[in-house]
Symmetry: C2
Subunit: 341 residues, 2 copies
């Protein structure tokens, strides 16, 4: 608990920030201001709990993220974890450890972004902790979600005969970060950064609706959100399921903005697509017989859906098949936040 | 989510650390290893959510706390928040942001302490996040507890005619910290530190059982845990309740170890008792007519219970009445972690 004089400040950041109806709908019996928040249970439902921390200089830089972006993204990353189970995000707890350079106004802006994300996804912010820190800001978010009992979609459900799908293109966030870093370092040939890439990096849009569709239809058999890069997440599904995933290079979605930015920068778009990370789209598998129905359903709902590969019999792992039909093992890669740093 | 090669390390810290029966009893349908943990709901119950972060150099120092103590205390502080609602702690999520100086072995010892506390209080550790940090360790804990629906004991229930009580002595942790700091700075006259004071600082014992008694009997009317110091917590109850609390100096419990250590150090024990903080006992109020029954109940259960004052009509605030019957307003104080630093 913060000392008493902190309460007024916390209140100024958190009070009257959310519609009452939202808090009621989320079942908040007692929110911020006591030792713990009280949440009504729901029969036939399960609660989903997730936590993610973002650290200054490790996950974000002043040069590339506004304060509000940091708050927005910290919550969005957690919303994505709930989406990756097919659940609905409900209640968030936020711990902010702020160094002297982060004054009350800057923290206020961080909360601006955080509540923008919370209100967009119907998340009630019900508690947390605010404390000082010696040098670098840390924001830790815990998110509680709900899901129909026994129905959460795990990583371990991939089986031979499944298709591998994505609910959006990957690589945009990493490309946006690259551009922002170049810009902040005064690189001469960056030009105007494509807004879509910057937005993807600063304000990712987790696939909650897609996750719900996959659960409600029972057609999503395994699911993961792309936080550490497509290759890394595919490996997680492969290892959790004991399955062999084959991704087809020619089937990987690539946005026009990404293609032309990569070419202008002399970079390989495929590296960002496979290893970029922080995309917060969903990667999953589904029975091959459901492919047409899934594509129709997502089209009907106005959501993207890309079939990027298949699950086969064989040693658990991930292969990439080139446009020429050559297969090679795909490295796990993993996201190095500031490779140019 | 951490990169893939982190999973093995996390597993080494977390796997097989808790009895299967404990996890089953806590209703863990899916624990560490996926995007979110799945927890069974319970009809007629409410979930309690609390979060607290501990930051190196702000909340603890290498010189005064072992790694395991830090993990233990980070969880215990949250258990205390659940106890202060009359609830039972159930599921914890842990985010650890570790700088280079915190290698895998040190983090392992941090988890040792954390699980020691978790197993003691029947808490299932169901998720979290581990990430790097530039310089200082941050550990953020979120704890989910349960409580009978509509029965959680709030800060706001204090009314004239109530007694004010404590479920244990205060000031021990601050005295222990003082001794540990003096010792680490090579002060010549510290002598052997009383083990009880050191233990109170490093391994606090939250009053879960006391909180449950106060809820089950319906006799606890307002409740707070003493994290920021007795004066500060009394003010929280006074302000939340719109009530005037009068604490009697002569009724404040003082342990023999604290009294003699304070005297040997030339310190005023009362300062530690009122402003020390991190005691994690409970401060609350109850109908004066229940005093005898409460005292008998706690005696029967082998738990301490101290009546330290009364709630009166008047301007909301906190007064301290000296042994001579003189009343003076009690400052909020608040806990300055390292006043000697």
């Amino acid at each position: 608990m913060p000392p008493l004089d902190e309460f007024a400040r916390i209140r100024s950041w958190t009070e009257h920030r959310q519609p009452k109806a939202l808090l009621e709908k989320a079942g908040v019996s007692l929110g911020i201001g006591d030792d713990a928040a009280v949440i009504d249970g729901a029969p036939g439902m399960q609660w989903l709990l997730s936590a993610d921390a973002m650290v200054e200089r490790v996950h974000f830089l002043d040069e590339t993220m506004e304060e509000a972006d940091i708050g927005y993204k910290a919550l969005a990353a957690n919303v994505s974890d709930i989406a990756a189970m097919g659940g609905l995000p409900k209640h968030a707890l936020i711990s902010v450890c702020a160094p002297p350079a982060w004054n009350a106004m800057r923290i206020g802006r961080l909360y601006d972004g955080l509540y923008a994300c919370a209100n967009k996804y119907g998340v009630a912010v019900v508690g947390g902790d605010t404390t000082s820190a010696p040098e670098h800001l840390v924001i830790s978010v815990t998110l509680v979600g709900v899901v129909e009992a026994g129905r959460a979609i795990k990583r371990s459900g991939a089986k031979p005969g499944h298709i591998v799908f994505l609910t959006g293109p990957t690589g945009l966030s990493a490309a946006g970060l690259h551009g922002l870093l170049m810009q902040s370092r005064g690189a001469p040939n960056v030009g105007t950064l494509p807004a879509r890439l910057v937005q993807a990096h600063r304000r990712p849009a987790p696939s909650v609706k897609a996750g719900r569709l996959l659960l409600e239809t029972s057609w999503g058999e395994s699911l993961n959100d792309v936080s550490d890069g497509l290759a890394s997440e595919a490996w997680e599904i492969a290892e959790a399921s004991g399955a062999k995933l084959v991704l087809r290079e020619s089937a990987l979605p690539i946005s026009g903005e990404l293609a032309s930015f990569a070419s202008a920068q002399g970079k390989r778009a495929l590296d960002w697509i496979l290893y970029g990370g922080e995309d917060y789209v969903l990667l999953g598998t589904a029975d091959g017989n459901r492919q047409v129905a899934l594509q129709a359903l997502f089209r009907e709902e106005g959501l993207p859906f890309f079939v990027i590969g298949e699950v086969e019999e064989g040693t658990p792992g991930v292969m990439l098949e080139t446009a020429f039909g050559v297969r090679k093992p795909l490295g796990k890669g993993g996201y190095n936040h500031f490779p140019e740093g």
